[in-house]
Structures are given as C-alpha cells and as structure tokens.
C-alpha cells in the first residue's frame, strides 16, 4: 500500500488517480469531522468538498514539511472556523426566523440541543473554539492540540477550561 507521501509525489507528477486515492483514504475522517459540527450531511459534504478542492491546489506545492494527515487536519480546523464565522452571521441575520424552543417537537430535541450548543461554540473566541473543536470532536490530547496550534500545552488547557466555562454559562442562562 502506497503511503500518503508517495501518493502526493505521484499527484505532483500528474497522476489524478493518486489524488483520488488520497481523497478516498481521508474522506471518512474529514466528512466525519464536519458532520459533527453541522449535523447536516449536505453541509458537511460541501465543507469536505471545499477542503479537498483547496488540497488539490495546495498539494501541487506541498513540501513534505509536515505529515499530510496533520496538514489536512489543520485545513479542516481552518474550514470549521470559516463555517463558525459564516454561521454566526447567518444566525444574526435570521434571528427572527429562529423557532421558539417552547414549540419544538420533542423528537427534534437532540437536533435543537445540538444547534444551541454549536451556536454557543461559534460565539467563542477563535483560539478557544479551535481547542474545543479538537478536544471534543476528535478527543485529541492537549499535547497534539498544542503542537497543531503552535501554543504551549498549558495554554491549550487554559483555553479549553475557559471555553467550557463560557459554554456552561451561556447554556445555563
């Protein structure tokens, strides 16, 4: 089985099949990552598509300074940040269309809870949001989070602690 790096080299030499193989290999993780945020398969697919379209361009100049998986994960995080920002504006612009919780069907309770939670996550400061995203959706150790974000492990812990506290306050209010 070819490694990611071998596939990237083949892609850089013009093999589209190698790129497709990379997509096949990493799509489940990427799609899974996005569906955790959006709870909408179509939106998750769109986000994954955006990431791989960016990868198609970026991999042609990839210099193998980091592992592809790390590179892709960072792209996912950046895309989720974009999604959060977009969603924040969407929520602001559609505030009048948001259904009142009292009229919610109980079968949609999970869906409602999920939306509430991700809305609260989207309001967190960028760094806290990224730490929470990595920690909760992928159960990533602080050490890896710190490495990915270029911060210290303690800073990652502090950001996570602040984020959870803020989320708790927001949801309880």
């Amino acid at each position: 089985m070819r490694t990611d790096e071998e596939l990237i080299k083949e892609f850089q030499n013009g093999s589209e099949e190698a790129f497709n193989e990379l997509v096949k290999r990493h799509l489940p993780d990427t799609y899974g990552f996005f569906i955790k945020f959006t709870s909408d398969p179509i939106e998750a697919e769109d986000l994954a598509q955006d990431v791989f379209i960016k990868m198609y361009k970026a991999l042609k100049k990839f210099k193998f300074q980091s592992k592809f998986k790390t590179y892709l994960y960072r792209a996912n995080i950046n895309m989720s940040n974009t999604y959060f920002k977009r969603n924040k504006w969407r929520n602001l612009l559609h505030l009048d269309q948001a259904p009142e919780p009292i009229y919610m069907d109980t079968s949609n309770e999970d869906e409602w809870k999920r939306n509430e939670l991700w809305n609260a996550v989207s309001k967190l400061p960028s760094r806290q949001r990224m730490v929470v995203t990595m920690r909760i959706s992928d159960e990533m150790p602080y050490k890896d989070i710190a490495k990915l974000m270029g911060i210290s492990e303690n800073s990652a812990k502090v950001n996570y602690h602040h984020a959870v506290k803020t989320l708790k306050n927001q949801l309880e209010n």
Partner: protein, 126 residues
C-alpha cells in the same frame, strides 16, 4: 450540566457515512467549474487592464494642436491682403465657370498652395 458529556453524546450520535465515488465525481466537477469561473474572471480583469492601459496610452498621445486633426487650409486666406483675396476669388470663379468637370476644379482649388499665389500676386503688384 456536564457540557463535555453533552457535546460528546451529540457528536457520537452523528451518522458518518458517505458515498466516496459520488463525492470524488462531484469534487472534480465542482473543481473544474470553479477553475472555469476563475479563468473567466481573470480574462475579464486582463481585458479591463489592457483597455485601461491602451486607452490611457492613446489619450496621452493626443496633442493640443488642433491642426493635427483639422485642416488649416483657410489659414493662408486670413493673411491675404484684400487685393490678393479678390484675385484668388476671380481665378476661382473663372476656373469654375470654364470647367467641364466641376469636381476636378474643386479638388484643384482645395489642393492649391496659397503661399506661392500670394507671393506671385505680391510680386506682380510690386
């Protein structure tokens, strides 16, 4: 309320399957669509830049001297003395009256160099 537990429960409840082949086909179709759109945009911008530069270069070559764009045939007439002017009109009406082809005469009158006529008339007067 245990936020971390809630988040984990919600996340774990998500369905995570996707048709890979369909996704790859859609991915390449969308990539090509975006590429074509970018090319169209770049062509538009290039054309606009070219027209702006070309237009500016053309405009900067224009001169304030109107004689470059318009005939100044009448200028010599302005410096004629009245006697020469009368002489020129006499010659002109004689030529028009005696001409078989009026257009040929008009072209001749249009192309005539008035300076020699003025000089010739002045010499005659002297």
């Amino acid at each position: 309320m245990n936020i971390e537990k809630e988040l984990k429960n919600i996340i774990l409840s998500q369905d995570q399957t996707i048709d890979t082949d369909d996704f790859i086909n859609n991915l390449h179709a969308e990539r090509k669509r975006r590429f074509a759109k970018n090319i169209g945009f770049l062509n538009g911008v290039s054309a606009a830049v070219f027209l702006t530069i070309f237009g500016f270069a053309s405009m900067s070559q224009l001169t304030d001297d109107f004689t470059v764009y318009a005939s100044n045939d009448l200028q010599p007439l302005e410096v004629m003395d009245s006697e020469t002017e009368a002489y020129v009109y006499d010659i002109a009406s004689y030529l028009v009256d005696t001409s078989d082809d009026i257009w040929e005469t008009i072209i001749f009158l249009d192309e005539i160099q008035y300076e020699p006529v003025i000089a010739m008339n002045n010499r005659g007067v002297e």
